[in-house]
Amino acid sequence: MSARLEPVIGRYAHLELGGRPHRLYFEEAGQGIPLLCLHTAGSDARQYRAVLNDPEVTRSYRVVAFDMPWHGKSSPPAGWEREDYRLDTAAYTDLVMTVARELGLARPVVMGCSIGGRIVLNLALEHARSLRALIGLQSAAYVERYYDAAWLNHAEVHGGQASGAIAYGLMSPMSPEAQRWETVWHYMQGGPGVFSGDLFFYQVDGDLRDRIGAIDTSVCPLYLLTGEYDYSASPQDTEAAAARIRGAKVTIMNGLGHFPMSENPDAFLGYLRPVLEEIRTTTN
């Protein structure tokens, strides 16, 4: 065999979410501190392949990235044809904690981007004692709607093309072309109504502005890393959230956009590695 194989292993896990059986796809690599990675709205865990493939990370961390139900290789549950997909704060929180528990990840570090960067704020509020640290990428406590996501799920609009166009613009024009267009491709593969269903959490249900002041970073450290080219969760949005959370550590990532881990993995890893090293050496 001459093909180069990555150290990343992909598997399916069977577990119950919201009282219904699911077959959930996840990938993992490395050994050590569990690091659970949450992808963005309307995409899947392929966004984290550079983190999963980084020997500096996987030397000390067991990196796990899963496709949320309805995303990537995690099919919707049986009966999906009779319902609309719509993510909310409670279901998303339960999803993350259930996956961590069912995969045997003891006191994991959770890192999420965009909707994942939002839910880590709620995890900080509700599950701080069960988590070693939290890393929010492109975190904002809330984002005022500036476009109507209903157009992304319309029979007379190609949802894949439209969702791809939304994702395209959120990236930095300085990020490498190949990585940007692969990030777009993930969006173009999303199922009908899934991106807009995730955005219900992002744009409507998941308004955490009035609650995040109660986050106690002495129980669970919180790192917020935001790319400067993101206009959805902009550096100003992240800084506004951090201003309400004592002890939150903010890093603005130069030349990166809304999808740092996939649009420019090398630049992103330059920001992530020191954070993971700090977590490894200062928490237990």
């Binding site: 500036y146 319309h154 190609h158 439209a162 166009a165 613009g169 206009y231």
Partner: protein, 120 residues
Amino acid sequence: MIERIPELVNDDFAIVRWGRTMNESFMVEVGDTQYLLTVREGRVESVARGPFVMRPWRFAVRARREAWEKFWEKRPAPGWHDLFALLRRGDVAFEGDQRMLVAYLMYLKLLLAAPRKLAP
């Protein structure tokens, strides 16, 4: 800049491919100056400069001249680098058939950013 869009778009398959089913006219406004772009199968057939009297269009994209100038820089600054970045900051307005605009959003974003190729 807008007048140069046909040459910048029509020979670039990476842009044309997203508009190949498009046969529409749409308005782009740079400050007070109107431009009517007519697209046939992804190629920009014509760019007409206004003012116009009773000319139909499917959708319109309006922004201040200063906003377009920042948008067209070779390395645009954060918040000025994408059509929807302008939208979030309130520096662009969309009118007319929003469905058509979203259906061709990738094409429209790439087409409107094409003048960056001419930026110093």
